[in-house]
């Protein structure tokens, strides 16, 4: 039985929470469609309840689990577990969600798409919550796809903009393709190991080529979601979404889905070289690539998008490496990045809202006109750059220490990772400086940018400020926060360890940090607003577009060849194909001979057969469509007579009724067709048609004769006759077969009939509509009569 809950039937708070998100979204999109603010407040309420649930359940000593059997035969089930890591992620998702929804009210609640935003946002938050609580890969996959779909809807929120629609489609195709890779990987796990649950996979610690392929497929899925090279390009494109969407999805939550997956899988596969090198190379290249591209942007939001790509590369290295210290550092930096990046995006939104531009070449003197926002943003950016005493410094410091230590466990790959991280960190310091200077600095050659809409304190500045307060406090009380992160890290990998300190003392990592900051600040300051030249001519967008266009072109060509639209070709292919198959069957079995055949049972039978043949030949000879239809009916009645002679009254009755009705339908259609058959098609001259017709007729007739002669198994008819009365309570075996013995066939057939009838009705209606508006109707393309 599907849908049985295992465990305490009434106490399933996690599933209830996920359902609550859906219910709220439904309410928002229907009942509250006219009250956008109320919708947003309801959304905030459900996110807060999510946070409270996570705190209440997640801080217990043993993680709560809930399971819902889905398709037991396939081992598919919804398996949720709220361990420490999931609790941390749920808190991030819900609390940042609250801030972003709060902020969004002032940002664009007067926009017509706002209610849709809130509805999809809540569904997305629910999907993301489910994703981080998933204890099973199949469960995670379901939520994974749901986040992709929500992301598509949110990126394309401004559906009047072609750019937004294109970006949304691109993001969906890239993450959707990755989702398919993930599904393939999960299926391989299920087949090869017999489980898709994280804990059982870890216990089985499988290896072998199939497992490696499966792990790499899952990794590909994670890379597309978390915008890792070479799938990084969809993320900057997704910036055509409203800023609150970008702040939430494309910095703090959705792109972290891939990181979550890697974090769950790394303790299982992290010890394999191929896994580690893939992680480090992809993450490292992404980190550098994103950083370099961030230096080239003049749009502050795009700069942040590329910096997110870069930071995601960093996180990939940390959580994916599968080294205990790095895992802990990864968890910490995941938190740090979500907090400071959300703040930065919200800040860009405030500046955009106030001045109407995000172009750092046009902004000037904003720091003087909006000092509070400027200082708050500077603190977030400093956290991103890794300045003491902010949380970003603490986590980056921890990462450097972990990677320095990892050499002993992971070897060369850790050194390569360290090199990437150091270069990437220089770039992140540089683009942080560039961002702040570009957005808030005063340019000597530009007049101060006017502030058209000063940001409201309560609506915009405070939600953004809260993230900054979080960054500062977490930095100052690094020890306490570090203690909280112990459980999440240990849930990923029991051997994970680490603690956070604000002042590490002078050590190698600290020296590296100082050098990184100094060089980065210098680079960032030296290249203020002038965009760098494009170092690489090929971009991911172009390759994607090229592949996409190619796919469309190829499929169009295939369609053009296979679906020509010519009735002549369709019929020829179908008929000739059938003739070929039948002819082959006849040739293979011709040896069986026609020994059992008799010429005719009676004169009457011979007479009817002759009559039928005369009808058939006349149909082929006549030029009049109307006459042909009548003759076809005559042929049908002749067959009915044969059925009567063989003692099949049911069949004969049906045949007569069908023939009668079909003649009427034929006549109804023939009103619209030319009166006579005229062949003017030079590709199919009369001679060719005759050859095809004769071939079909001969092969069909021979086949029928052979088939009736080649029965090997005993007929089932005898059983039906004996069983009809006792089993089905009927004496008419034909009817009993139709409605009882083979009723499933009948059910299928009548469904086909119903669909066909609806098809006829709608095709005719469409043709009429087209004729009415003056477009050429399908029916007009029938060969014209020669008058």
């Amino acid at each position: 039985m599907p849908g049985s809950l295992v465990g305490d039937e009434l106490n399933t708070p996690m599933i209830a929470l996920l359902v609550a998100h859906l219910v709220v979204a439904a309410l928002v999109l229907t009942v509250l469609a006219k009250w956008p603010r109320a919708a947003a407040i309801l959304g905030i309420a459900v996110l807060l309840s999510s946070a409270v649930t996570a705190l209440a359940l997640g801080t217990r000593s043993t993680p709560s689990t809930e399971r819902w059997e889905w398709i037991g035969e396939l081992g598919l089930r919804f398996d949720l577990a709220l361990d420490g890591f999931a609790t941390m992620m749920v808190l991030v998702i819900s609390l940042l969600g609250v801030l972003v929804l709060w902020y969004s009210i002032d940002y664009f609640s007067d926009h017509h798409s706002y209610v849709r935003f809130v509805g999809v946002f809540v569904i997305f938050a629910g999907a993301m919550t489910g994703l981080v609580m998933s204890a099973d890969l199949f469960t995670m996959f379901v939520f994974w796809e749901l986040t992709s779909v929500c992301s598509f809807l949110l990126i394309g929120l401004n559906d009047e903009s072609a750019t937004a629609r294109a970006s949304a489609l691109r993001a969906l195709l890239v993450t959707g393709a990755g989702g398919l890779c993930l599904l393939a990987g999960v299926t391989l796990f299920q087949v090869a190991v017999g489980t898709s649950s994280f804990s059982e996979l870890a216990a089985a610690s499988p290896d072998g080529p199939i497992i490696t392929v499966a792990a790499l497929l899952a990794l590909t899925g994670a890379f597309t979601k978390s915008a890792q090279f070479p799938f990084h390009f969809w993320l900057p494109g997704a910036m055509s979404a409203p800023t609150p969407v970008s702040a939430y999805l494309h910095s703090a939550t959705m792109v972290k889905a891939g990181i979550v997956l890697m974090a769950r899988l790394a303790p299982i596969f992290g010890s394999e070289d191929i896994w580690r090198w893939t992680i480090v190379l992809a993450g490292g290249i992404t980190m550098i690539f994103g950083g370099v591209r961030a230096m080239r942007q003049t749009d502050a939001k795009l700069l942040l998008a590329h910096s997110t790509v870069s930071q995601l590369g960093f996180l990939t290295i940390l959580v994916g490496l599968g080294v205990p210290g790095a895992t802990y550092a990864g968890v910490a930096h995941l938190l740090a990045h979500a907090v400071f990046k959300a703040g930065l995006f919200l800040s860009v939104g405030i500046v955009d809202h106030a001045t109407g531009t995000r172009d750092i070449r046009k902004l000037s003197g904003v720091g003087r006109s909006m000092p509070v926002v400027a200082w708050l943003t500077a603190l977030s950016a400093a956290s991103m750059a890794g300045l003491i005493p902010l949380f970003g410094f603490v986590t980056k410091e921890k990462s450097l220490v972990a990677l320095l230590d990892a050499d002993a466990k992971a070897g060369t790959v850790a050194d390569v990772a360290l090199a990437f991280v150091i270069v990437g960190s220089v770039l992140s310091a540089a683009y942080s400086v560039r961002l702040i200077r570009g957005m808030f600095g005063t340019k000597t050659d530009l007049a101060p940018t006017p502030i058209d809409h000063p940001p409201s304190w309560f609506g915009l500045t405070i939600p953004m400020g809260i993230t900054v307060v979080g960054t500062v406090i977490a930095g100052l009380f690094a020890g306490t926060v570090g203690g909280w992160l112990d459980a999440p890290a240990k849930d990923l990998d029991p051997s994970a360890y680490g603690k956070l300190v604000l002042w590490p003392g002078i050590n190698t990592a600290f020296v590296i940090s100082i050098v990184v900051i100094v060089i980065g600040a210098f680079v960032g300051w030296a290249t203020p607003t002038k965009p760098w030249r494009n170092p690489v001519a090929i971009s991911g967008e172009n390759i994607f577009q090229w592949l996409f266009d190619g796919l469309i072109t190829v499929s169009k060509r295939i369609t053009a060849v296979s679906q020509s639209g010519s009735l002549l070709i369709y019929n020829s292919v179908t008929i000739l194909g059938m003739t070929a198959v039948l002819g082959a069957a006849v040739l293979m079995d011709i040896d069986d001979g026609f020994s059992d055949m008799v010429f005719a049972d009676s004169f009457m039978q011979f007479g009817i057969a002759t009559l039928a043949s005369v009808f058939a030949i006349s149909i082929a000879m006549t030029q009049q469509r109307f006459v042909a239809a009548l003759l076809l009916g005559g042929l049908g009645f002749a067959s009915a007579l044969l059925f009567v002679m063989f003692g099949a009254p049911d069949l004969a009755l049906t045949q007569i009724m069908v023939e009668t009705l079909i003649i009427v339908v034929f006549l109804l259609v023939l009103r619209r067709l030319p009166r006579t058959f005229e062949y003017r098609n030079k590709f199919a001259p009369r001679s060719a048609r005759i050859v095809i017709a004769v071939a079909v007729g001969v092969s069909m007739a021979t086949f029928a004769a052979l088939v009736s002669n080649s029965r090997t198994a005993p007929s089932v008819g005898d059983d039906y006759i004996t069983l009809s009365e006792p089993e089905a309570g009927g004496r008419n075996v034909v009817n009993v077969i139709l409605v009882d013995f083979r009723a499933t066939d009948t059910l299928g057939e009548i469904t086909v009939l119903a669909v066909a009838a609806l098809g006829v009705a709608n095709l005719v209606r469409m043709a009429n509509r087209r004729r009415r508006v003056g477009a050429p109707a399908v029916i007009d393309r029938v060969e014209e009569p020669v008058s």
Binding site: G729, N735, V739, D740, A743
Partner: protein, 166 residues
């Protein structure tokens, strides 16, 4: 569009319509034991509608307000599928048939087989299919021609008739 109506056919159809429908019902119910059944019954019932269409053409529009093709079609499918599904709820397999026997005053022993309901569904569906096609290719096309291809001459002659009546 000129309509040539036969008065004989028209008059005959008045009672033939009902008789043919009754025959179709008879054929359906006796089908379990003698030639007939839902499929044949449905076709015969459809013939009644076709006959009425041939006799009266588009003036029969109003009967499709009562016998709405798509509703009958859907109803038939629902009845059949429901009959197929009911055994599932009592723990039997799909489409498993059941025989009820009982005594009724006046009628004597009576036997009802669950597959009769399936046959009723088939009957309705077949009627729905033929009516859908008849309406799509017949009635609606006639209406289309009247709406779009009525010549000025036709129009004038109709106006004159109306004027003459006053």
């Amino acid at each position: 569009m000129k309509l040539r109506r036969s008065i004989i056919l028209d008059e005959a159809d008045r009672w033939l319509f009902v008789v043919v429908l009754l025959v179709s019902v008879y054929l359906t119910f006796r089908g379990h034991n003698a030639p007939g059944g839902g499929f044949i019954g449905g076709l015969v019932a459809s013939a009644a509608f076709v006959l009425r269409y041939l006799a009266q053409r588009h003036t029969v529009d109003r009967i499709y307000d009562v016998f709405r093709p798509h509703i009958i079609l859907g109803l038939g499918l629902i009845v059949s599928v429901a009959t197929a599904m009911v055994p599932l709820f009592v723990g039997d397999s799909l489409l498993e048939s059941h025989i009820w026997k009982g005594d009724m005053p006046l009628f004597g022993e009576i036997k009802i087989v669950s597959s009769t309901f399936f046959d009723i569904g088939v009957y309705l569906l077949v009627v729905g299919v033929v009516l859908s096609v008849l309406v799509a290719l017949g009635v609606n096309q006639d209406q289309f021609d009247i709406d779009n291809f009525e010549t000025d001459e036709d129009h004038l002659s109709r106006e004159n008739t109306v004027g003459g009546a006053q």
